[in-house]
Symmetry: C2
Subunit: 270 residues, 2 copies
Amino acid sequence: MKFKRNERIGGIVKILSDSPNRIFTLSYFTQKFNAAKSTISEDILIVKNVFEKLKLGKVITIAGAAGGVKYIPKVSSEDAREFLSELCEQINDPERVLPGKFLYLIDIIYSPQVVSKVGKLFATYIDYSSADCVVTIETKGIPLALATANAMNLPLVIIRKNSKISEGSSLSINYVSASNEKIQTMSLSRKSLKEGSKVIIIDDFMRGGGTLKGMQDLMSEFKAEVVGKGVLISTNAPEKKLIEDCISLMKLVRIDAGEVKTIPNDEIIK
Amino acid sequence: MKFKRNERIGGIVKILSDSPNRIFTLSYFTQKFNAAKSTISEDILIVKNVFEKLKLGKVITIAGAAGGVKYIPKVSSEDAREFLSELCEQINDPERVLPGKFLYLIDIIYSPQVVSKVGKLFATYIDYSSADCVVTIETKGIPLALATANAMNLPLVIIRKNSKISEGSSLSINYVSASNEKIQTMSLSRKSLKEGSKVIIIDDFMRGGGTLKGMQDLMSEFKAEVVGKGVLISTNAPEKKLIEDCISLMKLVRIDAGEVKTIPNDEIIK
């Protein structure tokens, strides 16, 4: 089958954007579109231009034997600011405040459209160039972490709150969650993370940082190195968290019965 | 800014494929690309052709005031067969058999690349035209369900194994999981599902169907109607499941210490 330039461009965009950060060789495209290498190279130049002009991220060429072309999702700062401002507006609804000053967020953090954008934001602000996988803890962080893993083209690892028979032998630690001051257990299947891995930790919400600290400690048990940490929302209080260098996309400034205020974290939007 | 036809085609493909099943108006594109309606209409015809020729799904035009154009993910039967056969090959590794005849699957069912394809497969084989949301139960089904919700452009609802303080008041039921014959609880936040909703249930694995039956019962408590059910793998034994009309993409034919055999479910690949 023969393809016109227009059709090839459309096809290449679809293939690249469906698999962020995956390298496709020139030969892959020459075979798929039954076209010469020089033709495909020209197509790719046009594709690069499309992504740049529309601020959809970057398409880069990697030279050498294992070379090819890949798409790197990047969100522009205007786009990030607009998206996060809208999200804050949606969250700043007093009806979302639950007894105990908890914030009802699951409609937002389970929304496929929201999480896919958040995944691209984490991929924009966290350096994952050396990372081997994205790690989260069940349950509410999972959709965000999956979208992040997808944007970064990394496998996802999910820490369980109890060890599970269907995951084989596992390693457990105890930690104190600041939000309820209870000692809890988290555990991870031995098979699911190689020793010496470099990991990115993602979660939905950080108050004191107890859960993230627990995840970090569990990673040490696996001799894994945490090379990046991100949460969707962190609270302003307490100012001192149990962990450092965690990127948060939004700040929870205030929460009380009948009042909640979150703002985009301007420090990281660049 | 002005765009060439090539660039507009690339841009339209990116926008449509990033948001499956979402309607974009012609005006959205005329503004984005600073082009006339007639020009965009021609572009869209070419885009339709690209998707068709490359078997990437369908792009359809919706007439009327709320009209526009949308992308419907569809997987061709060759593509489905090839993908599922490769997945079975990966799964049919004796090292995956855990004590108690459990199957180690989390590397596969948490892989962003695998789940995004599985989501498109469920969107190909399950009729979701009347559905309001995708429902799953924590934890292992979540990535598959999120990818399905994304392909169907529906919100995701996650049933918890215990009720959570950060989700507000909830409704719980007890159910018997066939895999360990224990009575367990599942619960769902009242806010997260409207009465009378039509839902698609997605899970990773079905043996006796106890968990899916539980989810179905919980849906009745919400006066919700289950309009579709899908699991990645169902076992051949027991032949009689506690629920009916559940689509499974793969069949587990045999599992024993040192032996496991799964096959693509040819009945549904069409």
